[in-house]
Symmetry: C2
Subunit: 178 residues, 2 copies
DNA sequence: GAAAATATGTCAATATAGCTGACATAAACT
DNA sequence: AGTTTATGTCAGCTATATTGACATATTTTC
């Protein structure tokens, strides 16, 4: 199944004029809205059956991806208050998806780890999202994956890109050591 | 300013093996999370000063883009209940950002239009998002815009793509008639 | 060793944005 | 005349976030 291109703006004769005027880039704005909407809908269905929401997904995702991360790190990544995190994290801990361990160097820290049960759920949810992404990339040419990464990276606040890239690289590394 | 590529998975020697195993595509999953987060943060700042939230933005955006749309259409696009829409829409109408006009053919319909004030706000918000997108595309090669559109379109539920594409095309057309 | 800073947790009150269910009104369709 | 459709509204509920205040244990600093 091939998808017909949306409207090939690159071939539009007045593309340069539009860019000069700084016209809104409606296509990206709206596609991003709908793509993200569908992207999060797959996990949402599974989560709601467990009595969880998107907030639980985000917490479990990052803990699973970064075993032993500090609560403070999680707060910075999610950009929420500790009170907001508290409720969600408590539920995940109480139901056995996440455990906390005292830091070896700094005993004030409560380092976060996904349990096998937590990891199973995290991987299930990531699997659903990966299915969608893989399906999308399969419809496109081979360079589409790299191109998507470049575009999405460039959309992130410049000051945060380094952090995000380290996050992805470090998590990939810790996973592959298994 | 050039951005170093995240991790060139296309050049990775075990990329094929990873794809065969169906490993999660962590890079896209996390980049999409952070990119969308920053993408909506620009408008959020402006909106919060007006006492509005993201919900108001979405309503105003689609009404501005599709002048004369029915309430029912808006409900389908946003995928929320009329009760949820009601509160937000009422505030936008009361404060003069949106007006309702009786349908010419079907007088039950309340067709939605952005007022000049509403259009100004919608365009301001779209402008902020466009700045970010344009900044991103400027860092990338010329085909990046089209590539991003293809990727994002492919990420949308197949059954919804047609609707979204029509939405974008129709709105573009109605705008350019001005 | 006392004081200050840090990491985390918790209580209380509030706001936003969504939901379900029930019901109301007006206009159009059959 | 009766049914369906488009819209609106009341009431109550849930999830996710907020701010502000305060508590506890631990580490760091002077």
């Amino acid at each position: 199944m091939t998808i017909s291109p949306l409207r090939d703006r690159t071939a539009s004769k007045d593309q340069a004029a539009s860019r000069d005027r700084g016209d809104p880039l409606w296509d990206i704005i709206e596609l991003l809205f709908f793509a993200y909407r569908d992207f999060v809908s797959d996990p949402d269905d599974v989560l709601s059956k467990l009595g969880f929401g998107r907030a639980h997904h985000r917490v479990l995702h990052f803990v699973n991806r970064n075993p032993g991360m500090k609560v403070a790190d999680l707060l910075h990544i999610l950009n929420i208050t500790k009170q907001s995190l508290g409720r969600v994290l408590k539920q995940l801990i109480d139901q056995g998806y996440i455990v906390q361990k005292e830091g070896a160097n700094d005993r004030r820290q409560r380092l976060l780890y996904a349990t096998p049960k937590g990891e199973a759920l995290a991987m299930k949810l990531a699997g659903l999202q990966t299915e969608r992404i893989a399906r999308a990339l399969n419809e496109l040419d081979p360079g589409a994956h790299a191109a998507a990464c470049r575009f999405l990276t460039a959309m992130i606040d410049a000051e945060d890109r380094g952090i995000v890239q380290k996050l992805i690289a470090r998590a990939d590394q810790s996973r592959s050591q298994k």
